[in-house]
């Protein structure tokens, strides 16, 4: 390894060749401020446009100040990070950015969580000279089913552009215009709804300002809770419990399952249930489908579409409906756990408690913004009554808890209600990349081989590599598993499927890097990739501590089939728990 020696703020340091000044300084405990720069190294995500110039430092013998985030260390360099010149330049840069930024912090959705606001505080900005002459951009706000955009708050860091193009390979967003009107937007400045956006929410997850935020559905939930004629049930996705604590100052990776349940009860939900229950149900349906197709394939049936693709991530579903409609019979037809829950709650459970589905309100707490769109899909309602009425994000729940004067940290733990609150370890790991397919393997193995699984943990399916593969031995039958998270990675595997070159029998796809733990609705990670790792570890911990760790052993799932559904993939199960996909590709129509 070639190394380089340099001096930063009078301290000597030796770093690997190619290291930037920013990273070298970090090794010395010197935190040079950054704004546009984003580095999630565990996920291989980097945004380095060198555009904002907040990170400038003085390099001896150089005339101009250098951006630390994109300047590489050189031998003998002498760097100063807080000279008068540097601090003045930094302040001027900030003043410029702020002169073209609305000043409505008090009522901004991002307030308290805003990197721009924090930077203004950190740099001690107290006034913006020349504000009275400053030009301001004038974009109209845009609201889609999941995401709100207020481009007047865009500071052109282009993080969202990087996420949407490089990490997600969607390309709904691009830098447009110049000067004060420069912003990142969909083609022709159309609303997001008229773009190829998948509502994955990764742009929201990284936006440092209030330019991109989620659509807030908490007022709808509040209204339902206040209505005495409604019975309100709530379901919580696996990844929420591994991240919610962060919003209350707890360490990333703190599991708050019990406190979350108590908080939801305190908020007034009549039944606190778990999406983990329907994750177990998903495994029953998807696993059976997988085995069915696999057996037909092994028997030489050419109509059996292999590989089977998971379908529990709605951002992913949106993606293939837009870009791979020709393959829409390849993914599993199983609905997502959110929608399976809604379908069961509004039939089986509504009957049990003798409430009409119109008077039963199902709320979901999700790490995800695509779920907001998903629950609004027409095919997921009956006579205009949605299976899942409202979907709110982990962040919205945190804000809701604070508004309700609940001291989250001091809450006692409590348990989910029955019957839709019982779950297994297999369901918990749905929240991390590789988790769904691991859960499916645990069940499919036992059903296929008729033997008991010796080793429940499939470590070969875990990790954060963007594309992973493993061969799982089904008692002599090698089953090839592929895993992708981040849609650009998924696209690679799908291109192979389209070309007929895929080696896999089953592929798990999650739209968000890291899986649901990195979802667009989670507490902001502020560019710290350790946060995602800690959340994943928390889920695997919860799994390991569960008494039951295989979906098909969940007693309430067994009961649900006995009392109501019959068996997996039965006609009733198909009607309630499966769906079909649509060709939503952009069409070029030729006029005569």
């Amino acid at each position: 390894m070639e190394t380089i020696k340099l001096i930063i703020d009078n301290k000597e340091i030796e770093v690997e060749k190619g290291t930037t000044i920013l990273k070298a300084a970090r090794q010395l405990g010197i935190e040079i401020p950054t704004l546009c720069y984003l580095d999630l190294h565990d996920m291989n995500i980097e945004n380095k446009p060198g555009g904002c110039r907040i990170c400038v430092v003085e390099v001896e013998k150089r005339r101009n100040l250098a951006p630390a985030c994109s300047t590489k260390c050189e031998n003998g360099m002498v760097v100063k990070t807080h000279t008068n010149r540097v601090l003045n330049a930094r302040r001027t840069v900030m003043e410029f950015i702020l002169s073209d930024h609305p000043k409505d912090c008090l009522v901004c959705a991002k307030s308290g969580n805003c990197d721009l606001q924090n930077m203004a505080t950190r740099l001690g900005i107290r006034e913006i000279p020349g504000q009275e002459y400053a030009e301001m951009s004038t974009y109209k706000p845009d609201t889609s089913p999941s995401i709100k955009r207020d481009l007047n708050k865009c500071i052109m860091c282009r993080r969202c552009e990087t996420m949407c193009n490089e990490i997600q390979a969607v390309g709904a967003l691009s830098a447009i215009n110049r000067g004060f009107m420069a912003a990142v937007a969909p083609a022709f400045e159309q609303n997001l709804e008229y773009s190829t956006c998948t509502y994955c929410g990764q742009c929201v997850a990284v936006c440092p300002t209030g330019a991109l935020t989620e659509v807030d559905h908490t007022p709808d939930v509040l209204r339902a809770l206040a209505d005495p004629t409604k019975t309100v049930v709530v379901q919580t996705a696996p990844a929420v419990r591994a991240a919610l604590g962060e919003a209350f100052g707890m360490e990333p990776g703190t599991l708050v399952t019990g406190k979350m349940v108590s908080a939801l009860r305190a908020l007034g939900f009549d039944y606190v249930f778990d999406t983990d229950f329907s994750a177990d149900l998903t495994i029953m349906e998807e696993g059976t489908e997988l085995l069915g197709r696999l057996k037909r394939h092994l028997n030489g049936d050419k109509t059996a579409r292999i590989p089977i693709l998971t379908s529990c991530c709605p951002g992913w579903v949106n993606f293939f409906e837009e870009y791979f409609p020709d393959l829409k019979d390849v993914p599993s037809t199983s609905k997502s756990p959110q929608q399976m829950f809604g379908a069961i709650a509004k039939t089986y459970f509504a009957d049990k408690i003798k409430v009409d589905r119109k008077d039963l309100v199902v709320v979901s707490i999700m790490p995800c913004l695509a779920k907001k769109y998903e629950c609004q899909r027409e095919e997921f309602s009956v006579d205009g009554n949605r299976d899942v009425d409202f979907s709110i994000s982990t962040r919205e729940l945190a804000s809701f808890i604070k508004q309700a004067n609940i001291d989250f940290k001091s809450l006692e733990d409590s348990d989910f209600d029955d019957p839709l609150g019982e779950s297994t370890g297999a369901a918990v790991i749905f929240g991390a990349t590789g988790g769904v397919i691991e859960a499916a393997c645990r069940t499919a193995y036992e059903i296929f081989t008729g033997k008991k699984l010796e080793k429940i943990d499939f470590h070969e399916l875990r990790g954060l590599e963007g594309v992973r593969s493993a061969v799982i031995d089904f008692d002599g039958l090698p089953v090839n598993i592929g895993i992708a998270h981040g849609l650009a990675n998924a696209r690679k595997l799908l291109e192979e499927v389209r070309a007929g070159k895929s080696q896999f029998h089953a592929i798990e796809v999650m739209a968000c890097p890291g899986g649901c733990i990195g979802g667009g609705g989670q507490p902001f990670h502020h560019g710290k990739s350790g946060v995602l790792k800690a959340r994943a570890a928390a889920l695997y911990r919860e799994d390991a501590n569960k008494p039951i760790r295989k979906s098909h052993e969940n007693p309430f799932i067994i009961k649900l089939y006995e009392e109501f559904l019959g068996e997996p993939n039965s006609e009733k199960a198909h009607h309630l728990l499966h769906t079909s996909y649509f060709d939503k590709k952009k069409k070029i129509i030729v006029k005569q």
Partner: protein, 160 residues
Amino acid sequence: MSNIKIEIRQEDVSKIKEICASYNRDPQELINILHACQEHFGYLPAEVQEVISAETGIPVAKIYGVVTFYSFFSMTPKGKHPISICMGTACYVRGAERVLEEFKKELKLQVGQTTPDGKFSLSSLRCVGACGLAPVVLIGDKTYGRVAPDDVKKILKEYE
């Protein structure tokens, strides 16, 4: 989720395909492709950008980003009499900006726009190489030299 439908004439699609093919549908050649399309169509409407996107695989948002970044590209058709005001250094120093302002005022137009009747469009360009005549205004093929703001009304009268 797009579900978007774009309508365009067959001959236009064929032309765009031909242009893209002549650049091997290479995303690196986007600027050249846009130039060639603008030359053919006179401007770059959304549908043209969509077809270029389908041909080259470049997301249409990116194409739109390029079109709005370079002032040379336009998404509105040029007027019957396209007016270009040179903003090169020589013209600028000798008052081209005030001439431009006068055109804007007279025609109630911004740079890059076309009058609703399609008669005039307004653009600015970099040095046309007639610095001796600064400030220079081009209307169609005709060149006007040493233009002062006061001349603008008179010039426009010629086209009534």
